[in-house]
Symmetry: C2
Subunit: 110 residues, 2 copies
DNA sequence: CTTTATAATCGCAATATTACGATTAATAAA
DNA sequence: TTTATTAATCGTAATATTGCGATTATAAAG
């Protein structure tokens, strides 16, 4: 990719992009939906639900965890994953600020 | 990437992911912000504003256009880009449905 | 017709992502 | 202690993304 030029952009632009990237794969969208839907957020259940290999799911979980949208707690040999409600709210407001607060302006020129 | 397994996911999950992907680079976020901010949405102005090479900006514009968030109209040798208000609204509601309507549920298990 | 201005496209290099089998690490159960 | 169970990590293949220089296509201007 050449070098990604994040230094050319504002903190906020980079944050919006990073959050959007976390949602930019259907498997991660599905994982998040599943975590909202069910209480049994054990990794193995997610693997069954989504239908990708365990290694692949683990990688997606790692990404979601690294940006803070989910958190995991160890329970014996299992790991229980959950939405991180606080960070989810924060993401919600950052993305909303970007995609929602613009719409009042009217400057269609084409 | 192996093969991307979009057939394993719902229409809606793929749509959310595709829209998020369009926002998943700070240059595209910056372009969209700029198009909202100014009326002079000529390609050359965007190139100057963002500070990446013309070929690179053109590629980002193409991506934004292909998912429908912006549209361009030819004006002599120039091309004038604008937010596609209708599709923007649609994206707004699809992403909002995903990131906002979940928050009422409480099922923290870790 | 020739020149100029503008933006799209091509071709390439560097890097990132997605996916998975195999292995490893950690804990529980026997 | 040995043996499952579970999830993380490693290594690798296939593919996508990002970025840019060079070229091309198009239309305006001279």
């Amino acid at each position: 990719m050449g070098i990604s030029k994040i230094e050319k952009f504002t903190e906020e632009q980079n944050k919006v992009a990073a959050l959007a990237k976390a949602l930019a794969h259907p498997a991660r969208v599905a994982i998040l939906e599943y975590l909202f839907k069910t209480k049994s957020c054990v990794c193995g259940d997610i693997v069954e639900e989504i239908g990708l290999a365990q290694a692949t799911i683990s990688q997606h979980l790692k990404e979601l965890k690294s940006i803070g949208l989910i958190k995991g707690s160890i329970d014996g040999t299992r790991v229980c994953y959950c939405i991180d409600e606080n960070n989810w709210e924060q993401m919600n407001s950052i993305l909303n600020k970007f995609i929602s607060t613009k719409k009042t302006q009217k400057n269609q020129c084409c």
